[in-house]
Subunit: 134 residues, 2 copies
DNA sequence: AAATATCCTACTTGTTTAATAGAATTTATA
DNA sequence: TATAAATTCTATTAAACAAGTAGGATATTT
């Protein structure tokens, strides 16, 4: 998992603590969660584009969750930042790509095994939410 | 998973088909499995250093498995080429590293969730062998 | 108007990936 | 014993990605 993605999880967990009452500023999150501030700005922006958080500009502004923590699936966030959950593109649901070197996906032994692993991981990732990492 | 690792799996599967009777040459494996030949050379060399295959130099030489296909765990190969199976260094068994931004691993929610995911994946990866991808 | 905060674009630095190139070494065999 | 065939070794490369950093534009409050 990229640092970006890990920081995103931590930022969401931080915002979840003040949900739905109040909002937090980038600088505060950065300080408390030990994340480089300017880097975190980009991450929060991505989370906003992804529809997970919203923001208020200007003095006294900040970020807040758009949805309840228990409705934000870890898998969605992972995909937003790191792309495929699957270890092979040919077993990915959302980022599927055919292997150029593989003539027959159905007969491919790697495909079979890594589909199982993807299924397992996906199940947990779409079952666990931001409220599970508080 | 890196291409290198995927190619390694395919090369091992190829070698498994002629185990223990005969050996295969890089050029043949490269052709049949659609892997760039010079790239495959490096991979087979790594597999040799890792103790999974052995080779015979010179005319009529080639590579062959050192151990039976059903004793070569996919997780071992994955680790050899791609390192940690875990998604976070702080939940990795063989490639453990402390997160610099995390004050308390035991209290960390991310640690908890991704430890579960690692456990799942590891279980399958150390249970499945080269003979499972034939 | 000033201070504060998000928003946006670009840049940088280092590492990794996926190869490719060429020569050295070893071995079988004609 | 020369030659061909194969592995082995070292180096290089181009492209992409990771993890930030920098600076200014924009919006909002006081």
């Amino acid at each position: 998992m990229s640092k970006k993605c890990k920081y995103a999880f931590k930022a969401l967990a931080h915002l979840a603590k003040s949900y739905p009452d109040t909002h937090c500023q980038t600088a505060e999150i950065a300080r408390v969660e030990n994340i480089p501030r300017k880097f975190l700005e980009l991450i929060l922006l991505d989370l906003k584009k992804g529809g997970f958080v919203n923001s208020k500009q200007g003095a006294g502004g900040g970020y807040y969750l758009v949805k309840a923590p228990e409705t934000i699936l870890l898998g969605e966030i992972y995909r937003l930042f790191d792309g495929a959950i699957a270890l092979l593109p040919c077993v990915s649901l959302k980022f599927y790509e055919k292997c150029k070197d593989c003539p027959d996906e159905v007969a491919c032994g790697l495909n079979r095994v890594f589909l199982q692993i993807r299924d397992q991981t996906l199940k947990l990732m779409l079952q666990k939410t931001v409220s599970d990492i508080l």
